[in-house]
């Protein structure tokens, strides 16, 4: 028997975007306030997990055709890579740099290389969490 889940599906379609926005907000606020790559990544991955729960795996895969293991690896690479960046400039491993830039629309903005590091963390968290959920959802 097919379960009638029209309400769930409709709500999910909207809520997923709210969760994703909140995840990004948490990710950026982490620079000076509570938040950051790890927490942002967890919230982002919860959006994916909700999608997988409400729609089936195949449907979501058609929309988001990524191998999440590779996303995790890419995130780890990004994080380590920013660490090596410091080495290339003769600074200790994992040294981060920041500076003020005058961007066209945003005006004077502080850009920090730690953002890339945090993005790496977020990618890793999303990749790992979704991979874990997908693995344990499979029948053996």
């Amino acid at each position: 028997m097919k379960i009638n889940d029209v309400i769930l599906r409709t709500v999910t379609k909207i809520v997923v975007f709210i969760i994703l926005t909140f995840g990004v907000e948490l990710f950026f606020s982490g620079h000076n306030d509570p938040g950051g790559g790890f927490i942002g990544g967890l919230v982002l991955s919860s959006a994916f997990v909700l999608l997988y729960l409400v729609f089936d795996i195949e449907t979501v895969h058609r929309g988001v055709p990524f191998d999440f293991k590779k996303i995790a690896a890419f995130g780890a690479f990004l994080a380590v890579f920013t660490g090596i960046g410091g080495v290339l400039f003769g600074e200790p491993f994992l040294t981060q740099a920041f500076g003020l830039f005058d961007l066209p629309i945003l005006g004077p903005t502080e850009l920090a290389s730690v953002l890339l590091f945090e993005a790496g963390v977020a990618f890793t968290v999303v990749g790992v969490v979704v991979t874990i959920i997908l693995s344990i959802s499979k029948d053996v």
Partner: protein, 494 residues
């Protein structure tokens, strides 16, 4: 500041990440693995040589000075272990190429192999207790994957025990860290040493130190080794050899670090306790080694005996004994890898694991038989092989400090090692061959050559002790004089 210090951890980490992307391309994965091992070994050797010239090296991550930031500290002790680890891992990779099978190779065998190496090298190099915890976790998580890879029934059964016991000990580790931080307010090892010396190691700190002792004993297999023989006999040979050679050694390293650098003020309590545990470990290991008929069990119990043997040196705590322990640690990493490989190869060739079911193997595989004989001599400590110098020095240290009970048990345990391996040798290699012409399995070169390489390595290490002497005596000196280490870490000018 010297960025090269992070290389032995960074190169395997990057390799592991890259290999995830190269999942379908096994040939490239193998090639990159070898390349990465060579690069890591080269960097490690360079660091070891640099320490000889410039003293202990330090790297402050992100430029945050100790005691606030994370530091990596490379002294002779840690670098000797890193170098040995990398070389042994390289030879084991060659064995894995020919034995592990495509199915496992495609399930991320190589990435996790390198993640494990990352964790092991990181544990050796870190100068921060919490970072040590993190590196331990990296190592353990990869070992969880490696032990279950393939998913045989026995692997899954053993891995549940392995994971449970390691989670428990990691939890204790975290608890001990929290207690320690709550008591002295720092986790940098050199800073801890200073602060513990300042306030004196009272009953509270001694109890915390005993908590650490329990944690690392679980990891090293000191007395709390009940999980070890089962888990180490479940996974495929190359992985079992990797575990047998490396994982317990990291626990032993941590014990040496903590009880020579931080908690060395109450040796009557802590070091006596370590001595008692070492004696019980050796007795238990010896009983296990002669009680079982399964080769894998016998070999695993040999790991246990060695753990007890090395820790007698910590219980004695003299410079000579420390030198002995370092020689023996290096030797033991090599020889345990060889022993596990030989046992695994024998099981692969005959399809049997019980010693009474095999016989006459030396007729079919002469070189394998002789290699086993070499292993046996080396493990017992017969010159010119590498086990000799370590045993002599630990014995000498024991006599100097008058610890005759430790001395007696340590050397009697060697006889048990000899007996347990002779039993395998006589049962499996002597006598009428059980393998008929039709059943003869060709021994692959890819399996035999790594074993032979280890055999040569133990001989070279035994003969070339002189070359290592400067490094080892420097390492032992640093271990026995914590102020050298502290000064190198906390000197903000460096």
């Amino acid at each position: 500041m010297n960025n090269i210090v992070v290389a032995p951890m960074l190169i395997p980490l990057l390799t592991a990440i890259f290999l995830v992307f190269l999942r379908p391309y096994l040939k490239i994965q193998r090639f990159l693995s070898i390349l990465s091992i060579i690069a890591t070994a080269g960097a490690s050797f360079y660091i070891l040589d640099l320490i000889k010239k410039e003293g202990i090296l330090r790297l402050d991550f992100g430029g945050w000075l100790p005691p606030y930031g994370i530091v990596f500290v490379a002294d002779s002790f840690s670098m000797l272990l890193v170098l040995t680890t990398v070389l042994v891992a390289g030879i084991l990779l060659f064995y894995a190429f020919s034995s592990i099978g495509q199915e496992k190779e495609k399930m991320f065998f190589y990435p996790f192999f390198f993640f494990l190496l990352t964790g092991v090298n990181g544990s050796f190099l870190t100068g921060d207790l919490f970072n040590l915890f993190v590196c331990f976790e990296v190592m353990l998580l990869s070992s969880y994957v490696l032990i279950t890879l393939g998913g045989n029934k026995i692997q899954l059964v053993e891995s549940i025990k392995y994971v449970a016991i390691n989670l428990l000990s990691s939890w204790f580790f975290l608890l001990a860290l929290a207690y320690l931080y709550g008591t002295v307010g720092t986790l940098n090892m050199a800073h801890l040493s200073l602060r513990v010396a300042e306030v004196g190691q009272g009953p509270l700190l001694t109890i915390i130190s005993i908590l650490f002792l329990i944690v690392f004993s679980l990891k090293a297999g000191l007395l709390l080794y009940f999980w070890l023989p089962g888990s180490y006999s479940a996974p495929p040979t190359a992985i079992a050899a990797l575990f047998g050679a490396l994982l317990t050694k990291v626990g032993i390293y941590a014990l040496f670090r903590i009880f020579t650098l931080i908690f060395y003020h109450e040796p009557e309590i802590t070091h006596t306790l370590i001595g008692v545990m070492a004696i019980l470990t050796m007795i238990g290991g010896s009983l296990g080694a002669i009680a079982y008929n399964d080769i894998r069990q016998i070999v695993s119990y040999n790991v246990v005996i060695a753990v007890g043997f090395i820790l007698t040196a910590l219980a004695i705590s003299g410079e000579v004994a420390m030198e002995g322990a370092i020689y023996y640690l290096i030797h033991d990493i090599l020889i345990k890898a060889l022993l596990f490989l030989l046992a695994g190869t024998m099981i692969f060739l005959t399809g049997k694991a019980k010693i009474e079911e095999m016989s006459g193997l030396i007729r079919n595989y002469p070189l394998l038989g002789w290699l086993f004989f070499v292993t046996l001599l080396s493990l017992t400590g017969i010159p010119p092989f590498s086990g000799f110098i370590g045993k002599v020095l630990i014995g000498q240290g024991a006599i100097e400090s008058g610890s005759f009970l430790l001395l007696a048990v340590a050397f009697i345990s060697s006889i048990f090692v000899l007996y347990s391996l002779l039993r395998i040798f006589m049962n499996c290699f002597w006598g009428e061959t059980i393998i008929s012409e039709d059943n003869h399995v060709q021994l692959k070169k890819g399996m035999l050559l790594p074993c032979a390489a280890f055999g040569i390595a133990t001989l070279v290490l035994g003969l070339g002790v002189e070359a290592l002497e400067t490094y080892v005596s420097d390492a032992a000196y640093t271990l026995m004089n914590p102020e050298v280490y502290i000064e190198a870490v906390l000197d903000s000018q460096k």
